[in-house]
Amino acid sequence: MTQLPRLSRAGHAAHCKRCLSGLPASQTDIDGSRLALAFYCIGSLDLLGIVEEQVSLQERNLWKQWLWEQQTHGKYGTGFRPSPFMTAQHISSKEQEQVESEYGSYDTPHIIMTYTALISLAILRDDFATLDRAGLLRFLSTCQREDGSFSTVPGSNESDLRTLYCAFAISSMLNDWSGVNVPRAISFINTCRTYEGGYGQSPFCEAQGGTTYIALASLKLASDAFGRTGYLTPSQQQETVQWLLRNQASSGGFCGRTGKDADACYCFWCGAALKILGAEDLVDSNALASFLGRCQFKYGGISKAPGENPDPYHTYLSLAALAMYPPHLSDTDDNARSWRLDALDPLLNAREETTLWIRRHIPVPSNGPS
């Protein structure tokens, strides 16, 4: 293969730290998903292995404090909101306390934010002493709909496979699946499967790399929890592997749908899906790294394609893809060390050590693995 550039670790870390310190007004559309953006930034630092070394204890504590402040309680149960974007500042502190004790109908927790909050807190090695586990289960159950899918916020009609994965991931983290109706959710996943061998975002939708990951990870989380296998027949599994592998373009990057251009984020979504299916040895990881190497922005951060602007989402998912698919470089290659990352757990989408922390600290102590 042609020589790989360095993975500019310091540049990518700096990009994420910059975003954590503040976003310009042009990013106002992040308002309703700020916590997810925080996760992509903190997660990138975790994948680069520098959270403890390069973020002061004091700063980590402030981050934790802000994350916990997004945990809110109310009539639909407990979860995390994206940010206080719908929370009003009150004049007296007494009034403030009252408002904070219960969320209003338009300031509810959000299921995707709840998943990203738990992972972010685990990265910061929180002890989860203040996690309202019972409230969380109630929240999941309120979000589940008749058809087995989950809404983003209680009562919303915005629902698709993304939210179902979050419900499964949270149940797995809690090691308690009593908040979800699993058979109904699995039948929803099955209705999203398409003739191409991938999964669409909702029933009848076109197969897409991101939702295919989501579907496969959800099925695997459930089969790990219940010791049941065979959610896919061998020939279905074969079709899915074939479709996913065909998505690797000659540039080395993966596309999300048949015939589309490669995009850095699909290197993760398709790559992680293949890993879940046990097909990771079939991916050309050198070509993948060379594509992601070209997606690096010269002032830090990774973008969706070469020459585009970087963002934390593509930075995190590119690093996560590289953690699963490190390029095979000879030790004499000067750049080899820059590409080395710790192993990633493809199911929860976190560094393996972070997953271990989750397994040890999020389940109810008596209910968790000892």
């Binding site: 975003c19 954590l20 503040g22 976003l23 310009p24 007004a25 042009s26 990013q27 106002t28 559309d29 992040i30 308002d31 309703g32 700020r34 925080a38 930034c41 981050w63 404090q65 802000w66 994350l67 940010s83 974007f85 719908m86 929370t87 009003a88 500042q89 403030q96 338009y106 300031d107 919303s156 009609n157 915005e158 398409t194 003739y195 191409e196 669409g200 975002q201 909702s202 029933p203 009848f204 939708c205 076109e206 197969a207 897409q208 061998p234 020939s235 079709e239 074939q242 479709w243 592998l245 065909r246 690797q248 080395g252 749908r257 048949t258 015939g259 589309k260 079939l282 991916v283 050309d284």
Partner: protein, 367 residues
């Protein structure tokens, strides 16, 4: 991206008609992570919005306020949600004695909302919330044909937009699918047009593929129309007719552009859906799986197996893969070797894996 249009209008704080509302600033307790440096216009509008929500006001001016916020941040799901509820509160209730099956008149307020959504959906094509709001309006307006026309305009702007296609599929399934006939609120007029609508969808796909034969969203839509939404036809003769039609349609499109993965995936899909072995179309695939040969004869036109053009790039990787899957495992090995070493080297590890596994677990894709 927030729209700049908001800067041209006065702040809510400067408007007489909002003087009765005390705006509520956003709460930022501890040191915020990734704070957004909001524009003054966004701070202003959201301050009034928090106050309105707290007061529970659902009046006409709330529509103006939420539109202003949405134009600055189309992903503000609370603004969308509150807007919808306000709309419901302001719309006249359906007449008591109206025939449930009749096509309702569209009240002016709803007509205005639909017009606004037509504009915003194109401006914010990639925002989830825009499309979810639209779905909520469908049962109120009950005019799915109008929506189909709108989607067509949207796809002209971006022919592969995922949200736009998903919306079309959802709309068709909800209004003309199996469940719709059982829905007492569905106007008879809508149910009566179902057959025509489904037939029209095939023309719609044809037009999209005539523009770009590699548009996978259009191929997917065809599968949805033919097999996905309503299942297979009841009579065997009809099923056979549809199968033949789909097969020849796909083959003809492969003849136009042989290395089109979407068409080959569609072919695989039709064969699997109908439990037809891949080997049934091997004569066709063979025409594409080898280099052009000197003795190619074009005098016999085989309508069932349209041949590639003289300038087609052969062999075509998709045809090779298809044949290898169709054949008994060992015969496929030569094909896989050729893919691994020459024609599809990025998947070398995969093809080598297929060769290794040929004697073991993996059988051809259709059993």
């Amino acid at each position: 991206m927030p729209s700049k249009a908001a800067a041209d209008t006065p702040l809510f704080a400067e408007r007489e008609e909002w003087a009765d509302v005390q705006p509520l600033e956003q709460y930022e307790g501890v040191n915020p992570i990734a704070p957004i440096f909001y524009s003054p216009e966004y701070k202003d509008a959201t301050g009034y919005f928090r106050a309105i929500v707290q007061a529970g006001e659902k009046s006409a001016r709330v529509l103006e306020l939420t539109e202003n916020i949405i134009r600055q941040n189309p992903a503000h799901y609370s603004a969308w949600c509150y807007r919808y509820e306000t709309l419901l509160a302001l719309l006249p209730p359906p007449a008591e004695d109206a025939d449930a099956g009749a096509q309702p008149d569209i009240p002016p307020l709803l007509a205005a909302e639909l017009a606004l959504m037509d504009e915003l959906a194109v401006t914010f094509l990639k925002t989830y919330q825009v499309w979810h709001h639209r779905r909520l309006l469908v049962p109120l307006a009950r005019q799915p044909r109008r929506e189909l026309a709108f989607i067509q305009r949207g796809l002209a702007v971006d022919a592969k937009n995922y949200h736009t296609w998903s919306y079309r599929q959802w709309l068709l399934a909800a209004c003309y699918g199996r469940g719709a006939a059982a829905d007492p609120a569905m106007p008879d007029a809508v149910l009566d047009e179902a057959a025509g609508v489904w037939a029209g969808e095939l023309d719609f796909v044809d037009a999209a593929l005539a523009q770009d034969v590699r548009n996978n969203s259009a191929w997917h839509h065809r599968f949805f129309v033919v097999y996905g939404a309503r299942g297979q036809a009841d009579s065997e003769a009809e099923r056979a007719r549809i199968f033949r039609r789909e097969l020849i349609y796909t083959k003809q499109n492969i003849a136009i552009a042989p290395s089109n993965p979407s068409a080959w995936n569609y072919l695989r899909g039709v064969l699997r859906e109908t439990n037809t072995p891949f080997a049934a179309v091997q004569d066709f695939a063979r025409l594409y799986a080898y280099p052009h040969s000197a003795d190619e004869t074009r005098d016999v036109v085989d309508l069932d197996n349209p041949a590639p053009g003289a300038d087609a790039e052969l062999p075509c990787v998709q045809a090779m893969e298809f044949l290898a899957d169709a054949w008994e495992t060992e015969a496929g090995a030569e094909m896989w070797k050729s893919l691994a070493n020459e024609h599809d080297t990025i998947r070398r590890q995969y093809w080598e894996h297929r060769i290794r596994d040929a004697h073991q677990t993996i059988k051809p894709a259709v059993e």
